[in-house]
């Protein structure tokens, strides 16, 4: 019997937990619309809305949306093709 080429999403807890434990403001993101990379801390965030909307400072398209309900949250990053996080060298991978 051959092992499946994938495992269930529970294995993401560790890796994603590590990523989301870092300070997002130290991350670099690339805009999916115009391709410009830059620090996430440079996004234009519109907080006076039903959720947080982070826009690319170059083209003003949406890179990030975060909606927070009392018991749930939704994070939409379809407008960011990739995020880069600085990681401490001494943290085991």
């Amino acid at each position: 019997m051959t092992a499946l080429p994938y495992v269930d999403g529970n294995m993401l807890d560790g890796p994603l937990g590590e990523v989301f434990a870092v300070d997002l403001s130290t991350a670099t993101g690339r805009c999916a619309h115009c391709g410009t990379p830059g620090p996430m801390a440079a996004l234009r965030v519109y907080p006076y809305a039903p959720g947080l909307v982070g826009r690319c400072p170059t083209c003003l398209e949406v890179m990030l949306r975060l909606v927070r309900a009392p018991d749930r949250a939704w994070l939409d990053l379809r407008g960011a093709t990739v995020l880069e996080f600085p990681m401490p060298l001494d943290r085991p991978r």
Binding site: G51, V53, R55, R65, R72, D76
Partner: protein, 199 residues
């Protein structure tokens, strides 16, 4: 006996009997914005209804203003929990705009200058429940509140009342809009407190 104890039922008291659950009354008109405010000159403004067959119905500003106008006074309820009672608007009833539109669609996706979208059942835009408004409280609708013209669908949470609205895409299938793809409820009835998906 005879002693009324506020809060005895355990339910939070609304500040006014006309408020949906979880809402508070505000005399202000808060400005909510998910992006930069589009500035659309009236001579370049247009409103387009496209049907599921690709037919387009267009109105210029002057054509829209030449249609029969109504002055609805309605209560509005924002999902961020403020409500404002007795707001007065002026504009065209959506029934008037949909009157000559031949469609079998069940849904509408409102889309705006600036890229915002929100979805509604087409039935909720009919029967004198929705307007395309250009005037608030007797004055031209300011850009920060959605001018030159916005949708007004007061029986649903106010995010459905798309600011800077440019048109409606009528579709057979429901297409979730900007907030509806990020956790907010597809329908958004304030009286049933349909804020988030699954509410």
């Amino acid at each position: 006996m005879g002693i009324v104890t506020p809060g005895f039922t355990g339910r939070p008291r609304a500040e006014a009997p006309d408020l949906p659950p979880g809402q508070y009354l505000t005399p202000d008109f808060p400005v909510l914005s998910a992006g930069p405010t589009p500035r659309v000159p009236r001579d370049q403004w247009e409103f387009v209804i496209s049907t599921e067959t690709g037919t387009e119905h267009r109105w210029s500003w002057d054509e829209m203003m030449a249609l029969p106008q109504q002055t609805p006074t309605v209560d509005i309820h924002c999902v961020t929990r403020w409500s404002k009672l007795g707001t007065t608007w002026r504009g065209v009833c959506l029934d008037t705009l949909l009157d000559g539109v031949d469609t079998a669609a069940d849904y509408a996706l409102a889309h705006s200058y600036g890229g915002y979208t929100t979805n509604l059942p087409l039935a909720d835009l009919r029967d004198r429940q929705a307007w395309l408004v250009h005037t608030y409280d007797g004055e031209d609708l300011p850009a920060e509140h959605g001018g030159p013209a916005r949708l007004l669908v007061p029986h649903l949470y106010f995010w459905k009342s798309a600011k800077w609205v440019r048109g409606l895409r009528l579709t057979v299938e429901d297409t979730p809009g900007f907030w509806e793809t990020a956790g907010y409820h597809d329908y958004g009835d304030p009286w049933r407190e349909q804020r988030y998906q699954g509410d």
